[in-house]
Amino acid sequence: MSPIPKIEFEVGSEVKAGDILFYDKKRPEIKYCAPVSGELVDVRRGEKRSISDVVILADKQMSYRKWQTPDIHTCERSQLVSFMAECGLWPMINERPFDVVPELNSVPVNIFVSTFDTAPLAPDNILVVAGREEAFQKGLNVLAKLTSGKVHLGLDGRGTKPSSAFTDAYNVEKHWFAGPHPAGNVGIHIHHTAPIKGNDKVWTLTVQQVITIGQMFLTGEFHADTIVALTGAELREPKYVRTYQGAYLGDLLKGNIQGEDNRIISGDVLSGHQVSEDGFLGFKADQVTVIKEGNNYELFGWLLPLAPRPSVSGTIPAYGGKDFEFNADTNTHGEKRAFVVSGQYEELLPMDIYPQHLMKAIITGNIEKMEGLGITELTEEDVALCEFACTSKNPLQSILRQGLENLKEQI
């Protein structure tokens, strides 16, 4: 799933933003590039000496490697693909099913970009795209060249007017979606627009990724600057910061965390990854969340929840209605059990899918049924809300991932 990196530079050498930092040993044609310029100071290793982090001490003044970009109006698709692989843009693309970096010969039937994020405390894409509207449109034009079908844009139909960069975008088909989370998930958009069928591949990108691609074709440089939302109740001052992809969290959060014993998440609370305070922002993360660890016992915590807590259950009063305030911590609020309740997931997943039966098919390893029940239409973020609400505390995201891995092996 994740690449096996082969590093092109030695520790101590200077790199430019956009220099190829490493390539994937499994697929050497796919290159990954440096988001910033500076000195390569450390290569951190994890289990079995696999490379986990490549640390670059960033320059104050970025210097960029210049690329000669092909003209997207005249070049062949294959030229475009090999350029994007060569200059490190290819890993920006996410392919469904399986949520992977696509093969170079893969042709998507459609490309989907969701322009709004409904996850808890997610950043507002109006800010992300502000000032970079031209790059966003350029990125869309590049993508339009890559698909055999269309580029679909999912727009926020919940009331507030989206950025004109989204509403006035051309070369795309626009779709409006309204409703609570997961209405902003690209998986939901695909399901209701042009569901994945058979062996089809569909590509998905975030707004930030489209902008990065667009900037390369506008300037010939790899601009990895991004807007990141620092969120969570344990921050003194939640805010947006402009930084670079893979930024060092120690600097971002310095002096801003209150209290001890917190969990730092790269991403949102539903499908982000836990990171340490001296860790780095994830590859695609546009958000950092800091919440309290919930490692305390609670007297009759299952019977009388005295402190307000997040819940979709009717047994837990939403103190003061829809906008009630609560403090979320990482306590599991109960122990894992077998599936008991039915219909709970269906209410939280606006798709024509039976999640509980799909999970059971995955657990029993029934490949045919998994496919029939639509496993290829889902990734972890789509079932995250179901996992949050699950009365039996079942780990749906990891069950789903196990099913996807299982299915991938069969193909």
């Binding site: 009759f300 259950s313 109960g334």
Partner: protein
């Protein structure tokens, strides 16, 4: 946290005494929500868990318990022709109800939880909460005079064969409480069928039969009541002439709604001062319980609505045929009699044994309503159908789901 330190210190060793540790763990997690934190996946979790789900159902049936205790006593004195008013002899009615219901409650939990603890220790996992609801339902559906050994046997059968053999909570095919009842129904039919089983505390149900009081009546409660200057249990009480103990359903079978209302008023049936299973008689309190389950979304409204649709539809068909007096009874009258509402609120909605797809729940509910009504009206041997109808549909719920799921799969394949 002084208490928690103490509790942690007395924790038994898991290896040396697994059963003890299982019991300890069950009670510890009962007292304290555990301190576990999320690892992979979502970093936050809903405050809802299985314990809370189960306890919500138990809370929803508390009014039925309160009224059931009273009504056991009330029916006892009605048979003797004494204390016919609601308030008259209230303390005696409560005392008699408690004497009958408490042992059933204690025994059903002791046997059921005992078996659950044993299997949990054997399998090395935590005690699951399923029996909290089963254990609370069983006393509400058993006759008050049931011998405790029959009760124990039925619960052991239901929990071991009906649940643990399939893998425990969440895996069972049949509703555990109903399985216990159906065991009594087939193995010891005399204790649970006929008109006579719902009036308790007599040698037998016949004119002039005398009461069967034990130490709790004459020794324990009488001495308290004497000290307080209240009326006491009288051992010379006998069943009054002309008393049959017949339930509304038995009367309806004989002579339709006219015969029912010649004995019981509609008010009486709605408020539950009639002979019947402990929990099923008070329709208002059952509906309040159902309302709790619906508002908290613990029980499926689709199943409940499906059952009502099934009952109404079937009644219309029977009304149109109208060949026996019972067939002319309307659907509102049917709802006032017997255990339809109780079965709808608490039995059919068990999420484990019901259909699990939304479409399947409708089909499941409607079919229960249909089959239950057929058994109630057409079967001369047994005048109530919900237990058998629900168990029957429990058996077919996976089949219903299978067809719903297959149609979803077919739809997906047809896109390709």
């Amino acid at each position: 946290m002084g208490l928690i330190d103490f509790l942690k210190r007395i924790e038994p060793d898991k290896k040396k005494s697994p059963l003890l540790h299982t019991a300890y763990d069950a009670f510890f997690t009962f007292a304290y929500a555990p301190n576990t934190v999320t690892k992979a996946g979502t970093h936050i979790k809903d405050g809802m868990d299985l314990k809370r789900l189960m306890v919500t159902v138990v809370i929803a049936m508390q009014l039925c318990y309160l009224f059931g205790v009273y009504n056991i006593g009330h029916q006892h004195f009605v048979a003797a022709g004494e204390y016919l008013g609601f308030i008259e002899g209230f303390h005696l009615k409560l005392a008699h109800g408690l004497i009958k219901l408490l042992p059933i409650f204690v025994v059903s939990h002791a046997v059921g939880l005992g078996i659950e603890f044993y299997f949990a220790a054997k399998k090395g996992h935590a005690v699951e909460e399923g029996f909290l609801v089963s254990g609370a339902l069983i006393p509400l559906i058993m006759p008050p005079d049931i011998p405790l050994w029959i009760l124990s046997l039925s619960i052991a059968f239901a929990v071991i064969i009906g649940k643990e053999a399939f893998g425990g909570t969440g895996m069972n095919i049949w509703n555990v409480a109903l399985l216990a009842r159906v065991f009594v129904f087939f193995a010891y039919p005399l204790t649970i069928s006929g008109d006579q089983c719902w009036v308790s505390g007599y040698e037998k149900i016949a004119e002039g039969a005398s009461v069967n009081y034990g130490w709790w009546h004459t020794g324990f409660f009488n001495s308290i009541f004497e000290a307080l200057g209240l009326a006491t249990f009288d051992t010379s009480t006998t069943i009054v002439n002309g008393f049959s103990g017949a339930t509304p359903l038995a009367l309806a079978y004989e002579g339709g709604w006219a015969k029912v209302t010649s004995v019981f008023s509609e008010n009486q049936m709605i408020w539950g001062a009639i002979p019947g299973s402990v929990g099923e008689t008070n329709k208002v309190f059952i509906l309040l319980g159902a309302l709790i389950l619906l508002l908290t979304r613990v029980a499926s409204w689709r199943i409940m609505a499906g059952m009502v649709v099934g009952l109404i539809g079937t009644t219309w068909i029977l009304n149109a045929l109208g060949s026996t007096p019972f067939m002319t009874v309307t659907w509102t009258q049917h709802m006032m009699m017997g255990s339809f509402l109780f079965a709808m609120a608490f039995m059919a909605t068990d999420p484990v044994t019901a259909a699990t797809t939304n479409k399947g729940k409708w089909i499941y509910g409607i079919l229960i309503g249909f089959i239950g009504m057929l058994i109630r009206v057409m079967n001369p041997a047994y005048p109530e159908g919900w237990m058998l109808a629900i168990l029957f549909l429990n058996t077919f719920a996976p089949t219903i789901d299978y067809f719903v799921i297959e149609s979803n799969i077919k739809k997906r394949l047809s896109r390709a």
